[in-house]
């Protein structure tokens, strides 16, 4: 916790399980970006607003069902990812998510601007991000999950195996296949 490092995560989880909004707020601040990035790279390129909406949905669901969460010594991130994954699967069944970027106009939203970045640098960064999106999206869904959770969100294989409910061996295989496929896709643009 950036603003409250003294608070132990176990205590926060206990309080959040009892419905303490402030305690859950710390978990929200800690894990929001991780969950957002997973969703952002899973829903398709140029869909930051959709990813933000889904991330909020994840935390609303998590808050309402957090009393059922059982702490097993690992980060609750796996719990949030599991909810996120279920929501994405559910939404994928209902309709294919549209890939378009909309400018946010909500004044109540906290922006995290990078003031050191010029307009040109921003364009290059967005273009690279878009490249990453398009390459990841050419992979099968289970490989996408592993690549995003492992290399974008930095989860361990043990944590990924819990989220995806697969063995660690299966996770390693998916990771290997995913990287191999990504290399082929990237080199195809040569």
């Amino acid at each position: 916790m950036k603003n409250n490092e003294s608070k132990d995560i176990v205590d926060l989880i206990k309080l959040a399980k009892k419905g303490d909004g402030e305690a859950f707020g710390y978990l929200y601040n800690e894990f929001y970006t991780h969950v957002y990035r997973y969703i952002y790279f899973r829903v398709g390129s140029w869909s930051s607003e959709t990813a933000e909406d889904i991330t909020q949905e994840v935390f609303l669901k998590a808050y309402n069902s957090f009393k059922n969460y059982s702490y097993s010594g690992t980060s609750p991130l796996a719990y949030f990812y599991t909810i996120a994954r279920n929501i994405l699967i559910d939404k994928g069944r209902k309709k294919k998510l549209t890939i378009e970027r909309l400018d946010l106009k909500d004044t109540d939203i906290e922006e995290i601007p990078d003031e050191s970045e010029t307009r040109l640098e921003q364009n290059i960064r967005e273009e690279k991000e878009n490249d990453l999106h398009s390459t990841i999206h050419q992979l099968p869904k289970d490989q996408q999950d592993v690549i995003i959770l492992k290399f974008i969100d930095g989860l361990s294989n043990t944590e990924i195996s819990k989220v995806l409910q697969k063995s660690e061996v299966a996770i390693r295989q998916l990771q290997s296949k995913g990287l191999k496929s990504l290399r082929k896709i990237l080199n195809k643009y040569e």
């Binding site: 707020g25 957002y36 990035r37 930051s48 933000e52 309402n64 990078d114 290399f151």
Partner: protein, 128 residues
């Protein structure tokens, strides 16, 4: 793919991993404050009073419906009973006694025929 990446060849997994981590590092959400999220939660969650009241109204409607249905069927049954002037239940002896009466009537008729036949003459003409 931009021009810089088009020139690059990815020979190992490490280079691919570097491509992923480098290009995903800036993906930052425009985060809504948790306070606003909590407000949303409260908007989405109905108050316990409203939930109890809603349950009560559902129960009340069901009860009234069941009561009206009971009155309707009871009234219908009573009406039919009065209209037919006989109990709806087949447990009485009404049918049996009716049969007995008919049999007696038939017997009387047969007796009457005998009497009438005794009044016929040899040409089968009725003698008064």
């Amino acid at each position: 793919m931009n021009n810089n990446q088009q020139k690059k060849e990815y020979k190992s997994d490490e280079e691919v991993i570097h491509f992923i981590t480098e290009n995903s590092a800036h993906a930052q959400p425009k985060k809504e404050s948790f306070k606003r999220l909590l407000d949303k939660i409260q908007e989405d969650t109905p108050s316990p009073y409203l939930a109890t009241r809603s349950n009560f109204l559902v129960f009340q409607k069901s009860f009234v419906f069941a009561f009206v249905a009971m009155l309707f069927f009871s009234g219908g049954a009573i009406y039919l009973q009065h209209k037919n002037n006989q109990p709806l239940s087949p447990s009485t002896n009404t049918l049996t006694s009716t049969t007995d009466v008919s049999d007696q009537g038939l017997a009387n008729d047969v007796t009457n025929i005998d009497i009438q036949m005794s009044n016929l003459d040899a040409d089968n003409q009725y003698v008064y």
